[in-house]
Symmetry: C2
Subunit: 333 residues, 2 copies
């Protein structure tokens, strides 16, 4: 079973995935796994993945066969496993617990080569529904304190399979990075009685210089202090703390703006590798006045090296005002 | 002038290096810069770097010519610049300041192809002296609140030049990552009246399973909760908060153990890309009972992808007990 370990100095958690247990020669022989040959995520190969936990578009057929338009399966090589108790324990001054969690793969499309900017509205909205449906289901498990949804696109951004997919990991603790965000926004709220994300949207609307695109319900900006060139945040314009409370109309609106955002990025930097992460309130959390869900999109254009590891600072050669202007002025016709 | 900007939600700082101002096509044409052709760090090419701020091994020759055994020059493309005032200011809810700092390159050796594990004791100790000498000099500038020394080796770890070099960046603020470490260790000290790093060393000595190598003055371990396979921390065995307070004997001892550590790593994973970072007390800080300087060595074997960006968690496929055993059992003869 994987193990969660806590850095005893700064409290950062890591997952030691013992089962993947790599010795030095494993790293040497691990070459490019993307492209070419067999794809376990393609229709017809459903038997090569663990049994699906969700599928859309195949109402009258039996599970784990073709005919689906979106499919969710447990990760074959999970970072965390779903069976067992947490069993928190110490080892001298160190803390650890069992690696209990869920690790699922959302197969965004049956078409092997279809990237997000190529997708139809009808295809992409299913991905956003699937995020909600899986979050709602996993939120019933009281062992899970947080559910993170993310996508790695391109090998340089960590994707080991080419076929478009997102991932979901349910965790037994609220991660440091999310807790920092929630606590800092609470602190701001206590001081100002306003949501800091709403204040950011207000300032961005009035300044205009970092807006990439927007519609009635959502806005995409390049944040004021981006970690990487062309980093973008997509946020609901009206206050909303949890992704899962979106209504049907918002799902359509989100799909529209996300597609536009990713098409602008793809036209600026064709097939650039990227990561995106959905930040939302913890499952089972009540409505939060101070927290505001959003999606952070990080193109992979710079490197995390000694300076970033050592300080937590990032060096970014492109001001967000320039990134935003470039993306905003792209002609999508 | 570069700009320091603060993320208004979680307080993370970024450096917007406007002068490097990259537009999308700059990223497309930026190919492999390492290897082959001209090297600005090689002897004979001294005129292609900014004038040196320190050189060893050339007592009777004029500066900026050959004959040196180690040379320190300002970075030709600095992330921060040394001239100017800090000028802290706001922009609505956002905070920023001028990108004042120093960014220097320590050319570890005159030999283009010499990597650390190939170096003699007499060559490598100069690098450690240079770190101290530059830190002591820059600490006199009261604008600098922190000085981070690091090395990127190999293109995958962010090195843009092949010739062995380290870097030093003096910053106008103590970075988040360092502050977290110092504050957490202070918290521990207030509670226990002991240094947490000393306690870690004590536990590692008694357990033995995560020790890579040690000598009279230093110890290298694989930490309990490592972010990457084969991550190592090299620490002084006796309490010491600042790197610059080392005595001559310690410099020799550090050089010995660091060489052994890097030779073990290189034999396990030949020419693996890596970063190392020197964590020490802020300049002008008094002796701290609760903080303990150390070097963190991170081989580049896994990727920072969506999960890591989104949560601050790391997934590590190799338990540190296995990494340490493998490194410990390597025969260096």
């Amino acid at each position: 079973m994987p193990e969660l370990r806590r850095d005893t100095i700064i409290g950062r958690w890591v997952i030691i995935a013992k089962e993947r247990g790599k010795r030095p020669y494993d790293f040497v022989i691990e070459k490019d796994k993307t492209g070419g040959g067999f794809c376990p995520l393609c229709p017809g190969n459903e038997h090569t993945t663990p049994p699906e936990v969700l599928a859309y578009g195949r109402p009258n057929h039996s599970p784990n066969g073709p005919g689906w338009t979106l499919r969710v399966v447990p990760n074959k090589f999970p970072a965390l496993v779903i069976e067992g108790d947490l069993d928190k324990r110490g080892e001298g001054i160190y803390d650890k617990m069992n690696g209990i969690g869920a690790h699922e793969v959302i197969i965004d499309t049956p078409m092997h080569d279809e990237t997000i900017p190529m997708m139809s509205h009808g295809q992409l909205i299913q991905t956003f529904w699937a995020y909600r449906d899986r979050m709602v289901d996993l939120a019933q498990d009281s062992r899970f304190r947080y559910i993170i949804v993310f996508k790695n696109f391109g090998r340089a951004a960590g994707a080991s399979l080419e076929h478009s997919h997102s991932q979901l990991i349910a965790l037994p603790i609220v991660p440091h990075r999310i807790q920092e965000e929630i606590q800092s926004s609470l602190h701001y709220y206590e001081f100002k009685e306003r949501c800091i994300f709403c204040d950011i949207i207000r300032q961005e609307k009035s300044q205009g210089i970092r807006i990439v695109c927007e519609n009635n319900d959502f806005i995409t900006i390049c944040p004021f202090a981006p970690r990487s060139p062309f980093e973008m945040w997509l946020m609901p314009r009206r206050h909303q703390s949890s992704y899962i409370t979106m209504d049907d109309n918002q799902f359509h609106s989100l799909t529209d703006l996300f597609l536009e955002t990713m098409r602008r990025l793809d036209k600026a930097l064709p097939r650039v590798p990227y990561n995106y992460m959905l930040h939302t309130a913890p499952p089972r959390s009540p409505f939060l006045e101070h927290y505001h869900w959003h999606i952070e999109i990080m193109p992979k254009l710079t490197m995390v090296a000694g300076f970033e590891w050592g300080t937590g600072f990032y060096i970014n050669p492109t001001p967000p005002e320039e990134s935003a202007q470039f993306l905003r002025e792209i002609n999508l016709d």
